[in-house]
């Protein structure tokens, strides 16, 4: 048996990706705070370490050493399960994102992704939705009115954005002719296909904002109305898990968006230095994260019934139209 190929390499790869992701998540919080600070004519955190670089570490230490409180009135198993249900999908989503082309190491060809699944796009959609259950269960199990309202909003939000999002992805599949993410990245596209793809990107991005519960669609937690919505009864480490999964979700969705819309790891000189692909992907993800934060600093929050109306009355017809035109383009031009 090929122990090396079946076990050792995936484990090592998984460990490295996990480590990278978690570090990136920690520093994403710093990135967001710094950037928000700049948008708001402030400096952002700059006390812990040079340029505040140790801030995530300090935050983590603070959260880990907090007392674990489980309130009396909660549904305990579900209450404890919920944070994990948001963390795991956020992590699992990254499994199908190719980090770069295959590299040759120790005489083996090692693909730079956890799994090259041939239904990867479907997997992304499916796993991405599972995270919502975590939020809903947390709201339900907390047995708190605010949490319940937050959970209610999440379910309302989910059905409004997931349909248009799915339809945009279907258009993408049509355009690419494959559901494998690796192939979507590696295959070339004619220039008009790229143009058409980017035309649809703003609308897709809106659904992504809703998927990640980011501003202006962050109403499941809305600190101004529901205080923190579903997170209200969670403290210490459990809160940290929610927090980490939220930011992790941002990174992984950023990775998915970069891969589907912007050619993933592709860039100049990648054929000569395959590891450069990882850098390109990271830069693309960073650009998308910057967009996330920029939006947060610039626009007010949508009311949840307005998102539903927007989702059903604007985004859904638009995505259908987009799908139809894509189909025509594929038939007549490809």
């Amino acid at each position: 048996m090929d122990w090396m190929g079946l076990l050792v390499i995936p484990v090592v790869k998984g460990a490295i990706i996990l480590l990278l992701l978690l570090t990136a998540t920690a520093y994403l919080t710093l990135f967001e705070r710094k950037l928000l600070g700049r948008f708001q004519v402030r400096l952002g955190p700059n006390r812990a370490g040079p340029y505040g670089l140790l801030q995530p570490l300090a935050d983590a230490v603070k959260l880990f050493f907090k007392e674990e409180v489980v309130p009396h009135h909660v549904d305990k198993p579900v209450y404890l399960l919920a944070p994990l249900l948001t963390l795991v999908p956020a992590l699992a989503l990254f499994a199908v994102v190719p980090l770069g082309p295959s590299v040759h190491l120790f005489g083996r060809e090692i693909p730079l992704s956890m799994g090259d699944v041939n239904v990867a796009v479907l997997y992304i959609l499916a796993i991405g939705s599972v995270g919502t259950y975590g939020v809903m269960l947390a709201g339900w199990a907390s047995n708190n009115n605010y949490s319940l309202l937050g959970a209610m909003r999440t379910s309302a939000q989910m059905i409004s954005y997931e349909l248009p999002m799915g339809l945009f992805v279907v258009s993408l599949i049509l355009l690419s002719g494959t559901m494998s993410v690796t192939q979507i990245v590696e295959q070339g596209r004619p220039w008009w296909a790229w143009l058409w793809l980017w035309l649809g990107f703003p609308f897709f991005f809106i659904t992504v904002l809703a998927e990640t519960n980011r501003s202006p669609f962050d109403f499941p937690e809305t600190e101004n109305e529901l205080i923190a919505g579903y997170q209200i009864e969670y403290g210490g480490f459990k809160f940290a898990i929610f927090y980490v999964s939220e930011y992790l979700h941002m990174i992984t969705t950023g990775g998915v968006v970069a891969t589907l819309f912007f050619g993933g790891w592709k860039g100049p000189f990648v054929d000569r230095f395959p590891l450069l692909g990882v850098v390109y992907l990271a830069l693309k993800i960073l650009a998308i994260l910057f967009l996330f934060i920029w939006v947060r600093a610039s626009v007010p929050r949508v009311r949840y019934d307005q998102l539903m109306r927007f989702g059903w009355k604007v985004l859904l017809p638009l995505s259908l139209l987009y799908l139809g035109i894509t189909a025509l383009l594929v038939v007549f031009l490809l």
Partner: protein, 598 residues
């Protein structure tokens, strides 16, 4: 709520004060109700009519509905205890009325018949805005209002013992325990002296059904209630059925304090009421004292006061803009810090003239505390030069932003008639199309000489309120510019009888030293009488009812805070809206709990 009955109120506003008409109204009342009118009095231009309690409703209804009178706006209801005045009966309630179409003001004084169980008829059915004002009197003075729909304590805890504004209620305080051991007897009664512990708190307000709907408690610790406001909200899903505000978490008994300190010393308390507009509150109180004294301040002081008042209005509007946009957007929105950046500039100017940024206490009886420094004018001119562009920036972020428009247009809509009936003032009233602005209606500090517009909107929703406030910021800049142009030279405070002589004089002038000594040991002694004076602060009509018994302490000081009165309309605004809109409404009414609770 008998709000529907009063909705035929006129919404026109006259800008010419009709003092002759006020005298005529008093005469009309004398002739029409010879048995009800007990006495009339004119003091410092205020017309006071004493009315028998059992005829109050007849007189009030006549005043409100007669087409020649139309006292459609109830400014204030207050009361006082005449125990030390030697008058009988002991209690009296005071109604301050204003007729918007004719611009007349009138004060009704109603002696309350029974000393042990004082009862007067409630005017809530005539002016629904009297609701909370009467509850406040019930709470603090113990006068009951017959026919009031919801007579409960409002500021004090429900199990408070006694009514603090009565003159025989000791000023009192809780002794400060000096022990470090919780089992010490010193601690046994801590916080329990004045409460009746046996009364249990009702969990859910009357009229709410926790079995059928979700009843959510918002606050007093809630990020969007702008302080320690507690709202009990009945929800059907996310739709609001009813909102019951619970006030008083910040109640500090300012009015009781005022009765026990000299006139000058209360200026510092007014800072702490609406802490976002110390200057305006100083001004309102100081003007009332000056009216009581019957003095004029020098022209330079008047202009400085206008500049300070408008800067403060601007600063408070900026604070409102930042926090309101944050309410609707979350803490990420950059506008909060932009607004704070400009507000800092204004606070720097305040620091320059008064040494303080927030609680300035700069405007003093007889003038201002100190003259403005030489660099002041250039600093303010710099500020008003770049500020319009900044306001344009804010508007670029919000005014045409589709999300902002969706969140505010049609939210918290009220009509002009509803607003007047509920005694709402300020931008909230002006957003319904009623151009009621005291700077025009009853000009003070020479506002009639300035060229500015009263900004109004027509829709009466949160977006209209936003537009009105943005417009008012620009108008404030206009006023400041005109004031700077005409800033005259000369003294900045009135003579030594009311304001202390400058420090330099104390070393050389015996007379100045004597005045200084008299002012700080004895204080000023206004003649016996009562006045009401109100100004337009950033939130609405800020009124002070001041009563002197001839001593150096006010016999009664009552504050009519715009936040307190305006907050009443929250329930009406928010019904059938979503929870998110409730936050919008609280923000767009613009309250400061320090003033609501006082």
């Amino acid at each position: 709520m008998p709000l529907e009955q009063v909705l035929d109120t006129p919404t026109a506003v006259s800008y010419t004060p009709d003092y002759e008409g006020e005298r005529a109204v008093v005469e009309t009342l004398r002739q029409r109700f010879p048995d009800a009118v007990l006495a009339t009095e004119e003091f410092r231009g205020d017309q006071v009519v004493t009315v028998r309690a059992d005829r109050l409703l007849d007189v009030a209804r006549f005043l409100r509905d007669d087409p020649e009178l139309r006292f459609n706006y109830l400014v204030d209801v207050t009361s006082y205890d005449r125990l030390h005045l030697g008058e009988t009966p002991r209690f009296a309630t005071v109604y301050q009325l204003h007729s918007m179409p004719y611009n007349r003001r009138l004060r009704l004084l109603v002696p309350v018949p029974n000393d042990t169980n004082p009862v007067v008829p409630s005017v809530v059915e005539l002016w629904p805005g009297a609701n909370w004002m009467e509850r406040e009197i019930y709470d603090l003075m113990g006068i009951r209002f017959q026919g009031h729909p919801d007579l409960r304590r409002i500021l004090l805890p429900h199990n408070w013992d006694g009514h603090p504004l009565r003159k025989d209620y000791p000023l009192g305080s809780e002794p400060v325990p000096f022990s470090v051991n919780w089992s010490e007897p010193e601690f046994q009664d801590l916080g329990r002296q004045v409460l009746k512990p046996e009364l249990p708190l009702e969990n859910v307000p009357r009229g709410m059904d926790p079995e059928k709907y979700i009843v959510v408690n918002m606050g007093p610790q809630h990020p969007s209630t702008h302080g320690v406001l507690r709202l009990i909200v009945e929800l059907e899903g996310e739709r609001i059925k009813q909102v019951v505000p619970d006030l008083g978490f910040l109640h500090s008994g300012f009015e009781k304090q005022a009765e026990n300190i000299r006139y000058k010393d209360f200026v510092y308390y007014t800072d702490r009421m609406d802490y976002t507009q110390a200057m305006n509150n100083n001004l309102g109180y100081v003007l009332a004292v000056e009216k009581l004294l019957g003095i004029e301040v020098p022209p330079r002081a008047r202009v400085i006061r206008v500049i300070m008042s408008e800067l403060q209005r601007l600063a408070a509007h900026l604070l409102w803009l930042g926090t309101h946009s944050m309410d609707l957007a979350g803490s990420g929105l950059a506008l909060l810090m932009y607004a704070f950046r400009e507000r800092e500039e204004i606070l720097d100017i305040f620091e320059m003239v008064s040494g303080a940024r927030l609680t300035t206490s700069y405007i003093q009886i007889g003038g201002v505390w100190k003259d403005v420094p030489p660099a002041f004018e250039r600093r303010v001119r710099d500020f008003i030069a770049y500020m319009p562009a900044r306001i344009d920036d804010y508007e670029r972020m919000l005014t045409r932003n589709p999300i902002w428009r969706h969140r505010t247009i049609g939210v918290g809509k009220i009509t002009a008639e509803q607003a007047i009936a509920m005694s709402v003032t300020g931008p909230v009233l002006r957003s319904t199309g009623v151009p009621y602005d005291l700077r025009r209606v009853r000009p003070y500090c020479g506002y009639e000489e300035y060229d500015f517009d009263v900004i109004t909107a027509t829709d009466g929703d949160a977006y209209a309120r936003y537009m009105v406030r943005m417009g008012e910021m620009r108008q404030s800049l206009r006023i400041i510019e005109q004031a700077l142009d005409r800033l005259p030279d000369g003294p900045y405070k009135a003579g030594p009888k009311v304001s202390p002589p400058p420090r330099e004089l104390l070393d050389t002038s015996m007379e100045a030293l004597i005045h200084h000594f008299k002012l700080f040991t004895e204080g000023i002694k206004p003649p016996r009488g009562q006045v009401y004076h109100s100004i337009e602060n950033q939130k609405g009509e800020f009124g002070i009812f001041l009563m002197s018994d001839g001593s150096n302490k006010p016999y009664r000081t009552h504050v009519r805070g715009p936040s307190f009165v305006n907050l009443q309309i929250l329930d009406l605004m928010s019904r059938d809206h979503l929870v998110a809109d409730l936050i919008t409404n609280i923000g767009s009414i613009d309250i400061v709990l320090g003033e609501v609770d006082r």
